[in-house]
Symmetry: C2
Subunit: 175 residues, 2 copies
Amino acid sequence: MSLEIERKFLVASLPKGMDRHPHERILQGYLVVGADGSEVRLRRKGRKHYETVKAGRGEVRSELETELTAIQFDRLWEATAGRRVEKTRYEVPHAGKTIEVDVYHGELAGLVTAECEFATPEESRRFVAPAWLGREVTGDPSYQNQSLALHGRPRARSRREEPGGGTGRPPPGLE
Amino acid sequence: MSLEIERKFLVASLPKGMDRHPHERILQGYLVVGADGSEVRLRRKGRKHYETVKAGRGEVRSELETELTAIQFDRLWEATAGRRVEKTRYEVPHAGKTIEVDVYHGELAGLVTAECEFATPEESRRFVAPAWLGREVTGDPSYQNQSLALHGRPRARSRREEPGGGTGRPPPGLE
């Protein structure tokens, strides 16, 4: 079982030349979400399919994953109805790390978030965010993909801080 | 997605010659259980491995299932720790139907339940239980395998009705 240590940010303005970075379309849905925030997630990333079990909340979560065949994925996918998210993930290099930038589609269009994963809690604390990252939302449950899939985009306060002011338009870098 | 229509009973005394009927050891565990009773279950039955997603409660539940490889099963199994059940399932013929009799092991030893699945609600209503079946527990959440895995064996009232009077000994037919 692996532990996931990561920080998450809203994206104030996308870095230039985003499309030059490796990117892939991700479709994911939740089979079941537990009262304690644990989840079983199905994900199609490019041509690969995965099932992931996450337990716990916040910055450190335990995670187990296995690859599925397309047939297995299709058999179970129906059970994720009403709990799905679609996005394009860009892998943007920064100071020896990779920042994963997620540009959401469908009902979440206009929302862009970024995550960086760390090997240790110390490395996580030392991380200096580049200028194009906005407010940090690590541990904010409303920006978990699970919550975005179940409850949609967070409202109010956070909207004004997002690119496009919550108008649903993509941030400048993607226009 | 299939609908499961079934009735469940406690077993008052096992029918004679149980071991002559087809039977298989079943090990199952729950990856995540939702607040609404939905569940993702891993099951090893003989040499086969399955993942099943169930939604809803009671007599009619929707169900999706796919077969897993042993490697996929082993990758995810760790996440079921503390939410597991082990039992031997006997397939006992009765009046053209098959009654599945589950003899539990481990902490649940002494508990024996039986289930019969039906094609339609009408067939379910018409079912006449054989004399060796005890109290009906259809729709009683405490006898769902999910609940047995999470909370253990139901107490009090039901114990006296069970074979062995809740002493943990197997019912007469298995002695």
